[in-house]
Amino acid sequence: MRSWSIHRPGTSALHRANPLTKLAALLLLAALLFVLPWPGAWAGSLLLLAAAFGLRIGGVVLRRYLVLATPFLIAVFIFHGLIVDRPDRMPLAAFLSYSQEGLTYAAVLGGRISLMLAGSLLFVATTHPAALLRSLDVAGMPPGLSFLLASPLLLIDEFTKRAGAIRDAQQARGMRVDTLSDRLRALRLLAVPLVTLALADAQERSGVLNGRAFRAFPRRAVLSPPPDTALERRLRHVLVAVSVLLVGCALWLG
């Protein structure tokens, strides 16, 4: 299992669903943000997190949700509720002020982010990246696009490992990291070889991809496509149509 991955295999309907169907559901979730009042967005987040527990992947989804959402939500509430100058502001101390309007706006923004994050994490935890790539290939997405999606996921661990090796080698040869200024200097010294090697890798990998006929044709065959059914295909059409309708209505009604 890769360090960044929160994918957990399973046999639930969500696990078995075609990744494109799940992507269409995420699109609907994004469209709902235009019409849901902010308490609805928060309630939706809780519902999705509860669903994750129902699928026995709640622990990993909740942990990742807290890690990603907490700093952002705190920042949003502080910035909009206590710092931004609004008409209903009531001074607290120094540059801080309390604003009901600002806090409401932070709740709206936070709810939207929270809902999309919970939905995305549920998607990622129930969808193997390889299945997503295969389904994008089957759908006829340009191979280059799916490569852009896959390569960072695949190479991040390799990159981290290499950064660790360079850092260990530098420290073994006497580089000190005792103080903050030492650490900042070490970061700069780490960046140079890391970026140089990454550029060399990129050049070599580009040769490898060309050599193995990547993007030779606009579509590529897929050895084992993820299961897909006529029902799911129809469902995807409905989900996309409803999403477009929701966004259209929201924009039309202002």
Partner: protein, 279 residues
């Protein structure tokens, strides 16, 4: 001509000459070893042979396959004609596959081959490189040797007419080296294999035709004896195992390097001949 032809190829990285007026031909079924020390230009030559022409860096001379310059070949045509296996296997992974099987299937999938053909080629290449047990593993978690076998399998799945291997044995343990050499020897004779190596023993175990690349120039070309016992090869790469053992054991002291036995059979013949002469 049918095959890869390099004609008067000269190339430099900035002011540093890498290849100097290199000419060679690789015909179908060739078993060629190009030997050279570090910095002799092997990797650059391997790139040119495989059609990996350097972007934006001018070169003189031509590299053609079946009489057409590589620049006139489509990606799909080139992939079926030639494959390059590099010396750092992790850099030769596609970065697009989450399992060993997907990595091997990557090339045939790009060629849009029928699914049954992709499956057959993938399973065949996995078996050839003894990777069946690792088929569901993440390519990035394999050892260096396993990754090297994977890169070779990925190249074989494209069934190229020319296979260019740039120091493919570097990361392998002795058993894996033996296996890869046996694998290369077992490839159908209609495929040409070019092995660029620093090790005279690996070249001797595999090749029928030999070249020595020194300072970017081809300085010797011919049989194993012509090249591996050439003064320049001995100086930069050392003697192969058998002649070295003869020297260390003090055998055939009267012979020049170029006359030393290259194989055990040759050594036995010489010893027998010397014993007969004493009698």
């Amino acid at each position: 001509m049918a095959g890869i032809a390099v004609s008067h190829l000269t190339f430099a990285f900035g002011d540093k000459p890498v290849l100097d007026n290199v000419s060679l031909e690789i015909r179908a079924g060739a078993r060629l070893a190009i030997l050279g020390g570090n910095g002799s230009g092997k990797t650059t030559l391997a790139h040119f042979l495989a059609g990996w022409l350097p972007d934006g860096r001018p070169h003189q001379g031509t590299v053609t396959c079946d009489g057409r310059p590589w620049t006139e070949w489509s990606l799909a045509e080139r992939a079926c004609a030639v494959q390059l296996v590099g010396q750092v296997p992790v850099r030769h992974l596609s970065g697009r596959a989450f399992t060993v099987r997907e990595e091997v299937a990557f090339g045939p999938e790009n060629l849009n081959l029928p699914i049954s053909e992709i499956q057959a080629r993938t399973e065949r290449a996995l078996a050839q490189c003894r990777l069946e047990q690792l088929a569901e593993r993440d390519p990035f978690t394999l050892s260096g040797g396993e990754q090297q076998r994977l890169v070779i399998a990925a190249a074989l799945a494209l069934e190229p007419r020319f296979l260019v291997l740039d120091e493919p044995l570097t990361n392998l343990d002795p058993e894996a080296r033996e296996h890869v050499l046996a694998l290369l020897l077992s490839l159908p004779r209609d495929r040409a294999v070019v092995l660029l190596e620093t090790s005279p023993d690996a070249a001797l175990a595999f090749a029928e035709d030999f070249m020595l690349l020194d300072g970017g120039r081809i300085t010797a070309h011919g049989s194993a004896r012509d090249v591996l016992l050439h003064g320049c090869a001995v100086r930069t790469l050392g003697l192969p195992s058998i002649p070295r053992a003869c020297r260390e054991l003090g055998l055939f002291g009267e012979l020049a390097d170029s006359e030393l036995p290259l194989s055990l059979d040759e050594a036995k013949e010489l010893i027998k001949g010397a014993a007969d002469a004493r009698r």
